[in-house]
Structure formats: structure tokens, C-alpha cells
């Protein structure tokens, strides 16, 4: 009983709050639908048939479990510049090997199964870099449902390959012209569509944010990452990792890795936000540079001014380019269970290249933020210690961005 009361794993409460964060801050039109979704999710959660179908699709369609990989050459490389006896082992959870190239598909499988349970016949989603859009378009093609993806016009321009992928998969991609024309604006427009089409439309939110029950259900669907990793690590090494590291935009890959370990006191955790051009300049680090506020259905840390106007975020990684963060991370920060730090565009670019050359893996720019932090921490930790980082996406989509940043022509 005491253990249960002291758990970090039993959030949110019945009204969708993670401590002071989370909640259901939506227009009245959406409220009944949100309550329906919650009821349906509660039913699905205890329905063995739902889990069976989810697990089956993850295994045979997504390609799970993803491997747990010991990055030996990266570990050795980091030890070269570490003090005597320092240089922790670096391991990766290889979610970049999933179908569609990132962790996003785990959540999309879960949500489309919920949509079908609820009898919804049309799917909408927002996307930043296009990874969630591609994953949503993918599951819509797989289940034969029409799909509309809202994407900021700026992101449409800088992520053309993913736009074309979504179209190949049969999705309609709507460029959003409002605001700074990035992820936040895409989410506004998706909410506008949803509120006008509540009767037949399911909104597949891409990260562990938005109104309750989204942060909870996205976390649950992504927790397959941490559950697998925990089991794989124990099987391979006979122990738990000492430190988990994951990049954070909205925070779905991080919460997916962290959540199954939250009640293991020996396991430290570190979320890595995008510091963009630097925390004193334009960035996307909501916890480091923001304040609690209300946006897109939840209360959480937001980049905003003193009047509560939302600031434009910046990160070289379109997937981290969002001025908010999932509410559970806000709570985990305030509870002290998870530490959070940030990595700049330039540091992420260095880490991107480091992993390419030491391990033959081209990572996405999002996990490159995690890798950059791993490189710092490994040198401070003993050689027999283990760092496990989430390699949540592959970098094929980013080669144009990286080429431009490095001044290369392709």
C-alpha cells in the first residue's frame, strides 16, 4: 500500500491532472467527445482483445520489439577524452528501426484502434517534421480511413520528402498559413477542424500532450519502449541502467522510455530539450525557459511572455520546434523525479555526425539532442555504469537540413 502511494506511475488523477498540470482545457463543443474518448479508452485498457490486436500490429507491422544495442565504438570514442576510469557504457533503444522510421507509429497504431472502436470514419492529425504525419497516414492507409494532415506551411517547405510520403500514402496534406506556420499553428488548425467535425472525426495527437486523456493514452502506447528496454537490459546485463536519456519536444518518446522505470529508484532520468540558438536566444526549451500556462487543452510549461502570449519556438529539429511540453514532464520536473537539460542546434549537429561515424547510424536530429547530452554525461560516469538513450528516429528525413547547416550541397 505504501509503495502504491509513493508511486510515480499512477498519474494522472481521475480528472486528468498530473499534480497541477494536464487537465481538459478545451472548448465546450469538444468536451463531450473528450469524455467519450476517455470512457472508450478505459474500456479498451481492460479489453484483452484490444491489447492482443495492438501487440500483434506492433510485432508484425511495426517490427517490434526494437533492438537494444550496445554502442561499443561510441563508448570507446567517448572514453578517449574522459578522465581516468570514467566513460560509461552507452546503449541505445533502437526505435528508429520501426516501420516509418520513428517511435511515432507506436502511438498511431493505438489511437487508430481506438478510433475504429469509437466508430469514427475520418482521421486528422497535426505534424511538425512530418514523422507523426507519415505515421498517421500510414495507419490510415493500413485501415482504409481517409486522413487529413495539418502541417505549417513553413514545415511543408522544409520537409518536402515527408510531404510527398504522406501523399503517396493517400493523405491530404493541408499547409497551414496562420501564425509562424509551424507545429503550433498546425495544432490550432487541427483543433478547428475537429471542433467542426466532432461527429465523425478522430484526432490522432502525436505527442503526450493535449487534453486528458491524450497525455495518458499516448504515454501508455509509447511505454512499450520502456517495457521492452527494461526487460532487454535485464536479460543482457542482469541489471537496470543507471541513467536514461531522451530528447523532448512534446515528450512522447521520453515518457515512453521513462515511465516503466519511474519506480526504480536506482535509475536516474534526463530529458533533453532543444536549446536552439541558445537559451538566451530563440529556443524550444519550455521547462528551462517557460512558465506554467494553458494551451492546446492542457496546463503545462509554455514559452510565453508576461501577458500569456505564446512565443515562437526554434529548433533545428522540426520535431522539437514546439513552445510547450507534455504535462507529465512538467509534473516530473516539479516532483524532482526526472532531471531536464537542454542542447543547442550546434551541439546536436555535432552529435549527429559523431553517431554517423562511430556507429554507422544516421540519427534523426531529435535524438541527436539526446546523444549530445549522453556524450557529456558518459565522461562523468564510471566505466561500469550504463546509460540508455532512446534513438527515437532515423535521420533520412534530416539530411537536407543537416547539409544546409554544414554548408554542403546535395
Amino acid at each position: 500500500m505504501t509503495e502504491k502511494l509513493n508511486s510515480f506511475r499512477n498519474q494522472p488523477d481521475d480528472s486528468g491532472h498530473f499534480g497541477d498540470f494536464g487537465g481538459r482545457y478545451v472548448a465546450e463543443t469538444l468536451m463531450p467527445l473528450i469524455l467519450d474518448l476517455e470512457r472508450e479508452y478505459r474500456a479498451a485498457k481492460v479489453d484483452p482483445a484490444f491489447h492482443e490486436e495492438f501487440d500483434d500490429l506492433l510485432e508484425h507491422y511495426v517490427g517490434r520489439p526494437s533492438p537494444l544495442y550496445y554502442a561499443e565504438r561510441l563508448t570507446e570514442k567517448l572514453r578517449e577524452s574522459a578522465p581516468e576510469g570514467k566513460g560509461a557504457q552507452v546503449w541505445f533503444k533502437r526505435d528508429e528501426l520501426n516501420h516509418t522510421g520513428a517511435h511515432k507509429i507506436n502511438n498511431c497504431i493505438g489511437q487508430i484502434l481506438l478510433a475504429i472502436r469509437m466508430g469514427k470514419t475520418r482521421i486528422i492529425a497535426e505534424t511538425g517534421a512530418g514523422q507523426h504525419g507519415v505515421a498517421t497516414a500510414t495507419v490510415c492507409a493500413r485501415f482504409g480511413l481517409p486522413c487529413v494532415i495539418y502541417m505549417g506551411a513553413t514545415d511543408v517547405e522544409r520537409q518536402q520528402p515527408n510531404v510527398f510520403r504522406m501523399k503517396l500514402l493517400g493523405a491530404e496534406v493541408v499547409p497551414v498559413q496562420s501564425g509562424a506556420r509551424t507545429l503550433k499553428d498546425a495544432m490550432n488548425e487541427a483543433l478547428r477542424d475537429w471542433v467542426a467535425n466532432v461527429h465523425d472525426t478522430f484526432y490522432i495527437i502525436g505527442t503526450a500532450a493535449g487534453p486528458h486523456p491524450y497525455p495518458e493514452l499516448v504515454r501508455d502506447f509509447q511505454s512499450v519502449i520502456g517495457r521492452e528496454a527494461r526487460e532487454q537490459m535485464q536479460k543482457r546485463t542482469g541489471r537496470l541502467p543507471d541513467l536514461l536519456v531522451a530528447a523532448i519536444g512534446g515528450g512522447s518518446n521520453a515518457i515512453g522510455l521513462f515511465h516503466p522505470f519511474l519506480d526504480d529508484p536506482s535509475v536516474k532520468m534526463l530529458g533533453v530539450e532543444a536549446a536552439g540558438h541558445g537559451l538566451d536566444k530563440q529556443h524550444a526549451a519550455s521547462l528551462a525557459g517557460g512558465f506554467p500556462g494553458i494551451l492546446h487543452g492542457n496546463k503545462t510549461y509554455l514559452l510565453q511572455d508576461e501577458d500569456g502570449q505564446i512565443a515562437e519556438a526554434h529548433s533545428i529539429s522540426a520535431g522539437l520546434d514546439y513552445p510547450g511540453i507534455g504535462p507529465e514532464h512538467s509534473w516530473l520536473k516539479e516532483s524532482g523525479r526526472v532531471d531536464y537539460t537542454s542542447i543547442t542546434d550546434d551541439e546536436a549537429l555535432d552529435a549527429f555526425q559523431l553517431l554517423c561515424r562511430t556507429e554507422g547510424i544516421i540519427p534523426a536530429l531529435e535524438p541527436s539532442h539526446a546523444i549530445a547530452e549522453v556524450a557529456k554525461r558518459a565522461k562523468e560516469m564510471d566505466r561500469d555504469q550504463i546509460i540508455l538513450a532512446n534513438l527515437c528516429g532515423r535521420g533520412d528525413k534530416d539530411i537536407f537540413t543537416v547539409a544546409e547547416a554544414l554548408g554542403a550541397k546535395i
Binding site: Y25, P32, N188, R192, H199, I294, H296, G308
Partner: protein, 264 residues
């Protein structure tokens, strides 16, 4: 009797008019609403992410923010309006984040000081009332709630509980200023709301013309017009007051006389 209650007790349906604070010469535009015959004023607080609004009000919010409008400016516009028009009810409408940024008590106190009668917050449903509702009620400001076509009979009591001023019926599931609802569906919804509440029922979303306004005023206690007025500010700039006064006058005539026509 509160200013809001009086506005709905004039013996004819009330015209409720919305403009975004800080978009154009707001004081002159608000005066034009009053001169045109508006019974209740909704003053929009601009927000960077107006996700329940259609293109007209989105554009107005961006124009206002580009002008550098702050929350203090909005409160000043409200206070100045109150000084010029002691009897016209004034309601602030907007999104949660700018309202709670400095704490709900701060916001409620400032609004009360500025002579604001009610607050409509788009993204605080009854489930999250604690975020703002208690502070407003303690400050004597009416928390005006929204009911929508998706608010069923089972849910309606929760919406009514703690609400004040009037009930804002959003006639279409959607965003502001885009579609219009079929009159029949509004009649039915208003009847259901009236059976459940003593609050006046004002109907809005997608109302642009005197004809639409009159049709609604035959059954509802008030009609809300926003996007059509806001659009005039964007189109006419400094000359907006004349255009606003003209449209408001035609809306007011239609709304105020809607039931007389039915009787005749």
C-alpha cells in the same frame, strides 16, 4: 439588477456585439456599436493561438498583437469604455492563458476595477472551473459559459452550475464566423436551454446578416455578432466606426423588432 440582467430585460431581444481589443481605434469602434444600438458589448482579448476562431477573428487577434496590445491595454480600453458608458454591460471574451497568466485573482480584480460585468473563457470548460471561476465569482464578475450542439441534456446541469450573466449558445459545432446553423435546430436547442435555466440565452457563431439575426431573435433572448463586425475593422481601418455603426444599426433594428414582426 445587474447591468447584464437589465440589458436582457428591455422588453425586446438583445444584440450582443463583439470586437477585438486593440484592433484599430477600439474606443471609437466600441462607441459606434453603442450608437448603432448594441445592448451588450463583448471585448475580445487578443491571443496568439485563437483555436476556436475562424479567419476573421484570427486576423483581428494578429493585427491587435502586431500593434503591441497588452493585457494592461485591454483593461484600460475596458475602463475607458466604462467611464464613457456607465450602463452598457461589458464582457471580456478570450482564451485561458492570458487570463490566468498572473493568477486568476489578479485578472478578476483588474477586470472588476475596469468595470467588466462578465467573462467568457473559450477553453475553460466546467470541469476546469477552479482555474478561473471562483476568482471571478468572488470579484462579482459573471462567468458566462458556452453551451453547444454537443452539450446534451445530461451534461447541461454541469455547464449551468456556477455560470452567470447569460448563457451563450454556440449554434454550430465549429469555429466562429464560418458556418451558420439551421434555424430549426436553434429553436429546439434554445427551448431546451430555457427549460433548464433562468439565465437569458444568447445565440452566436456564424450570424452575419440582419435576416439571420432576426430569425434567431424570434426565439432567443439575445443574438451575438462578432466576425462580421471584426471583418469591418480589417477592411475599413480608420473609417471602421461608420461601417460598424451602420451594420450594428441594421442588426439592432432586426433583433429588437424580431418579435413584433412575428406578432404582426
Amino acid at each position: 439588477m445587474t447591468r447584464i440582467a437589465k440589458a436582457f430585460a428591455k422588453g425586446h431581444p438583445a444584440l450582443v456585439c463583439f470586437l477585438t481589443a486593440g484592433d484599430g481605434d477600439t474606443a471609437a469602434n466600441l462607441d459606434a456599436l453603442v450608437e448603432g444600438g448594441a445592448d451588450v458589448i463583448e471585448l475580445g482579448m487578443p491571443f496568439t493561438d485563437p483555436m476556436a476562431d475562424g479567419p476573421d477573428i484570427q486576423a483581428a487577434d494578429l493585427r491587435s498583437l502586431a500593434n503591441g496590445t497588452t493585457t494592461a491595454d485591454v483593461m484600460q480600453i475596458a475602463a475607458d469604455f466604462r467611464a464613457r458608458h456607465p450602463d452598457i454591460p461589458l464582457v471580456l471574451m478570450g482564451y485561458a492563458n492570458p487570463m490566468v497568466r498572473r493568477g486568476p485573482e489578479w485578472f478578476a480584480a483588474e477586470a472588476a476595477k475596469a468595470g467588466v460585468d462578465g467573462v467568457i473563457c473559450v477553453d475553460i470548460p466546467p470541469e476546469e472551473d477552479a482555474a478561473l471561476g471562483p476568482a471571478l465569482r468572488n470579484a462579482g464578475i459573471a462567468p458566462i459559459r458556452l453551451a453547444t450542439p454537443t452539450t446534451d441534456a445530461k451534461r447541461l446541469p454541469a455547464v449551468l452550475n456556477g455560470s452567470g450573466g447569460f448563457l451563450y449558445y454556440v449554434s454550430v459545432a465549429g469555429i466562429t464566423g464560418v458556418q451558420q446553423a439551421a434555424t430549426g435546430s436553434i429553436d429546439e436547442a434554445v427551448a431546451a436551454l430555457k427549460a433548464a435555466s433562468d439565465l437569458p440565452i444568447a445565440v452566436g457563431f456564424g450570424v452575419r446578416t440582419p435576416e439571420q439575426a432576426a430569425a434567431i431573435a424570434r426565439v432567443a433572448d439575445g443574438v451575438v455578432v462578432g466576425s462580421a463586425l471584426v471583418k469591418l475593422v480589417g477592411e475599413h481601418g480608420a473609417n471602421a466606426p461608420d461601417a460598424i455603426r451602420e451594420l450594428t444599426a441594421s442588426l439592432a433594428e432586426a433583433v429588437h423588432n424580431a418579435r413584433k414582426e412575428t406578432a404582426a
